[in-house]
Symmetry: C2
Subunit: 314 residues, 2 copies
C-alpha cells in the first residue's frame, strides 16, 4: 500500500464519522438532517502566511477548524462535519501529522462534528491546508451579511483586538507575560450556538479586522456606521498593551468574534441570552444613513484617524 | 476594498449559483434536494506536482473540477455544486485567474453545477488548488468501493493508459502527433450519469493506475483479481505507442475511467446501457477467491511481470 494510505490510516481514520465510510471510498455519503438547510464554507491556511511555520501542529489544526466554524457561527448554523485537504512537503515528520490529527480530534469532541473526507498530497511549497465545513440551519433562518439598516446598533461578542495583538506577540513586537493574547491568536473561540435568527439584521465574523468587517456590512446595506472607541470591549491583556496598540485592535484580523447589526430595542435581550451561554455581548456603535463609511469616535464624540483598516490575505 | 474582493468580483462571482448568495456571505446556504443523500469529496492539485506550471489555466480548472466529478461518478452520484480554495503567488497574473474561471465556467455549463463558495489566499509556494464537490444520490444507492465478490467480472469504461501516456508526452518522453494523449491527460472525462446502482457490486475511478485501483477493490473485498492484458481497451494513440508502454498504461494514473465489479451475467446489459450514453464498457478480467493480489495474464494465460503498480501522491 502506498504511503498516502498509511498516512490516512495512522492519523485520519479515527477522526472519520459514519458518513465518511471509514475513508475507504471516493466520497462521503451524508443523509442531510431532515427539514434543514445546509450551510457550507471553505477556508485555507498557508504556513508562513496564516500561521507561523513553527506553531504547534495541534493548534494549527484547531485554528483551521475554528476559523471555518466561525463562518458557520456568523450564519447562525450548527456544525455537521468537514472535508480536509492537506498539502505538505514530503519530509514533513510523522509527528506533525500526529499533532495535527490530535488537535482536530480534540475540537471534534468540543464542537460535535466529524471528518467526512479529503485528500493528502505532497508539495514543494509550504504546508497548505484547506477545510470545507458543512453545517445546518432551519430553513430561511441563516443570518446574512446583508440586512443592516440605519438605526440598527452595532454589537460584538467577546473582546476585540486579541488576535492582532497575539500575532504581534508571536512576532516579538509586543510582550504579554500572561500568554493570553497569543492563545487567542492561535486558538480562537467560534461563537456557535447563539440565538441570532430573528434577533439580528445582519452578522459577520471578525476575521479581517473590526473596521473592515463592519465596512462589509455597511457596503451591503448601502449605509454607514460609527463606532465609539471607548465602548469597544478589550481584554485586560489588550488594555495592558496601551493606547498605542488600539488602532491594531480595530484594524487587525483574527478575532473570530461576531459583529452584529441589531434593531434598536432588541440588543439587551439578545445580550442576556448570549450571557447565559457564556458569551459577553457589547454595544459599540450604530449604523447611519448616508455615506458608506465607518467612523470611529473618541470619548468626546470626535472622529479619530485610524490608519490600518484591515487585512487582505491576497 | 481589498484586492481579494476585487479578484472574487472580477473572476468568480459570475460562476456562483443561487446557494452561493452572490459570494457575499460567510457561507453558502443550500436546500438539499428532497429525499436524496449528499455525496461529498475533496481533491487537491499542486502546480508542479499534479500539473505542469505552464499548463493553460482553463485546462487546469477543468481538470480540477473533473477529477472531483470523477469521484461522484464512481459513487453513481449527480453533481450539485462545489467549493473552491485557491492559494496563488501574489504576482500571479490576472489573466491566469481569468483563464481559470473561464475553464470552470465552461465545465459548469457541461456538467450542470455551480460555485458555492471558497477562499483565495496568497502563498510563497506553488499554486495550490483544492475543490470540494457536492453531489446527490438516491438513499442507499451510492456505489461503494467495498463489495466486489469472487466470480464478479472486472469491467472498465473508455480506454486505459491515455492519462499516463499523456503525461509522458507532456514531459517529452513520448511523441503523439494527434495530441489525443495529452488532451486525455489534461482534460479527463468523468463518467457521470451511468446506471451503476443495482448493476455493480463495487466501483472506483482509475486515478492512481488500473492495477493499484483494482488492488483497492480487492483489499476491501478480501479477494484477488486477474486481468487479461489483451482485453484491456487501449486508444489508437496508446496502441501506437507500442508494447514497451503497456506497463505504463496499467500502472500510470490519471485515466479517470471507472473500474467496476459486475456480477456474472449482468455485464452485457450494463454495457448496452452505457453505450447508449456514449460510454464504451469492456470486460477485462475477474475477481478470484484467495490471495489479495492482482495478476495480469498474457494472451496465453501466463502471468506477466508488471513493474510499476501505481502512483502515490505523497
Amino acid at each position: 500500500m502506498p504511503p498516502e494510505f498509511d498516512l490516512i490510516g495512522r492519523h485520519f481514520r479515527a477522526l472519520a464519522g459514519p458518513a465518511a465510510l471509514n475513508l475507504e471510498d471516493d466520497a462521503a455519503v451524508l443523509a442531510p438532517p431532515p427539514g434543514r438547510e445546509l450551510v457550507m464554507a471553505a477556508d485555507t491556511m498557508v504556513a508562513g502566511v496564516h500561521y507561523l511555520p513553527d506553531d504547534p501542529a495541534d493548534g494549527v489544526a484547531q485554528k483551521l477548524l475554528r476559523v471555518n466554524l466561525s463562518d458557520l457561527a456568523a450564519m447562525g448554523a450548527d456544525p455537521l462535519g468537514y472535508l480536509l485537504t492537506v498539502s505538505a512537503p514530503s519530509d514533513t515528520p510523522d509527528a506533525w501529522f500526529a499533532g495535527f490529527a490530535a488537535g482536530l480530534g480534540r475540537d471534534q469532541a468540543i464542537y460535535g462534528l466529524s471528518l467526512l473526507g479529503g485528500d493528502t498530497t505532497s508539495t514543494p511549497g509550504p504546508v497548505t491546508l484547506s477545510l470545507t465545513i458543512i453545517g445546518h440551519v432551519a430553513p430561511g433562518q441563516a443570518v446574512r451579511r446583508r440586512g443592516a439598516k440605519p438605526g440598527d446598533e452595532v454589537w460584538v461578542t467577546g473582546t476585540i483586538g486579541d488576535g492582532a495583538l497575539g500575532l504581534a506577540v508571536s512576532l516579538g513586537k509586543l510582550t504579554d507575560a500572561t500568554g493570553f493574547l497569543r492563545r487567542r491568536y492561535c486558538v480562537p473561540s467560534p461563537r456557535l450556538g447563539l440565538p441570532l435568527a430573528g434577533a439580528v439584521s445582519a452578522a459577520i465574523d471578525v476575521s479581517d479586522g473590526l473596521l473592515q468587517d463592519l465596512g462589509h456590512l455597511c457596503r451591503l446595506a448601502g449605509c454607514g456606521a460609527e463606532v465609539e472607541a471607548e465602548a469597544v470591549p478589550l481584554s485586560p491583556a489588550a488594555r495592558a498593551a496601551g493606547p498605542d496598540w488600539f488602532a491594531n485592535c480595530l484594524g487587525g484580523g483574527d478575532d473570530y468574534e461576531l459583529l452584529l447589526a441589531v434593531p434598536p430595542g432588541k440588543g439587551e435581550a439578545l445580550a442576556d441570552e448570549c450571557r447565559l451561554r457564556g458569551v459577553p455581548l457589547t454595544r459599540i456603535g450604530r449604523f447611519l444613513a448616508g455615506e458608506m463609511q465607518v467612523r470611529v469616535l473618541d470619548g468626546k464624540g470626535r472622529p479619530m484617524a485610524i490608519a490600518h483598516h484591515g487585512w487582505s490575505h491576497f
